[in-house]
Point group: C2
Chain length 126, copies 2
DNA sequence: CCATTATATAACTAAGTAGAAATATATCTT
DNA sequence: AAGATATATTTCTACTTAGTTATATAATGG
């Protein structure tokens, strides 16, 4: 499996958890310490630390070191990768409609020329 | 938890699997039967059927009935939801840069006015 | 150095997931 | 009705995950 796919796996499964999405939303506003991230949730600190590790492995956050705290900051690059995937996908999907549309057009045209044939049949000589 | 969040959970975790993303890509091109979806993978038919159920629960595909086959077709609506989430997120994230930018601007201005103060100190009467 | 604070890690549990193999169901064909 | 084909469901296994509590590590302040 391509590492691109592997990264997408990590990013999508990181995003699949609402706690982690909330952490990202919080961190998007500004850096935060682990304890600041613990507060809004009814989860223990180790639970949050675990979520942070998942996010870090997915490349969605990175951590600094500042005195005792390990400030968490967003790294949005992997989200761009998701957007790319979505974009590629949308292109496929829309192509499909294009094909459907041109198929429908084709059918309409066939119908019209059939109608013409019926209403104005080609005269045969004689 | 809002049902919106619950749907995002389902969609993101459905997308977290490369087999399922491949199935979606295939189905984006055109409808396919289960067996057609089995072929390209080295997985058994029940495994694919299970993936299809996950995708269906996430609302990403729907199934018809045509003779013995259950044609699978894409339902792209949930992807729009993902795009919305990404968009909201990006807005947050960019606001952050805006704030940082205006902070930097502010600092530059302070610097400039400090420089002015140094170069052109306000005269005190006398 | 000692106590405190912030965070990480370990050990465990309960629940979920991906896969295979075997079997059941549904529809068509004859 | 019987056989064939397409798909779903069941059962089982190995692995992963989210959460807990308890404990370890790292950095700071006295």
């Amino acid at each position: 499996m391509s590492s691109h796919a592997a990264r997408l796996n990590l990013v999508f499964s990181a995003l699949a958890d609402p706690t982690r999405r909330a952490i990202l939303a919080r961190v998007a506003r500004s850096e935060a310490t682990v304890n600041e991230l613990v507060e809004p949730f009814r989860l223990t600190q180790p639970a949050i630390s675990k979520h942070l590790k998942v996010l870090e492995t997915a490349g969605l956050i990175s951590r600094g070191r500042e005195a005792q705290t390990r400030p968490v900051r967003l790294t949005a690059a992997p989200l761009a990768e998701v957007e790319t995937w979505l974009g590629d996908f949308r292109r496929f999907w829309e192509q499909r409609f294009d094909r459907l549309e041109s198929y429908v057009e084709e059918m309409k045209n066939k119908e019209k020329s059939r109608d013409r044939r019926i209403k104005n049949p080609k005269r045969t000589r004689g």
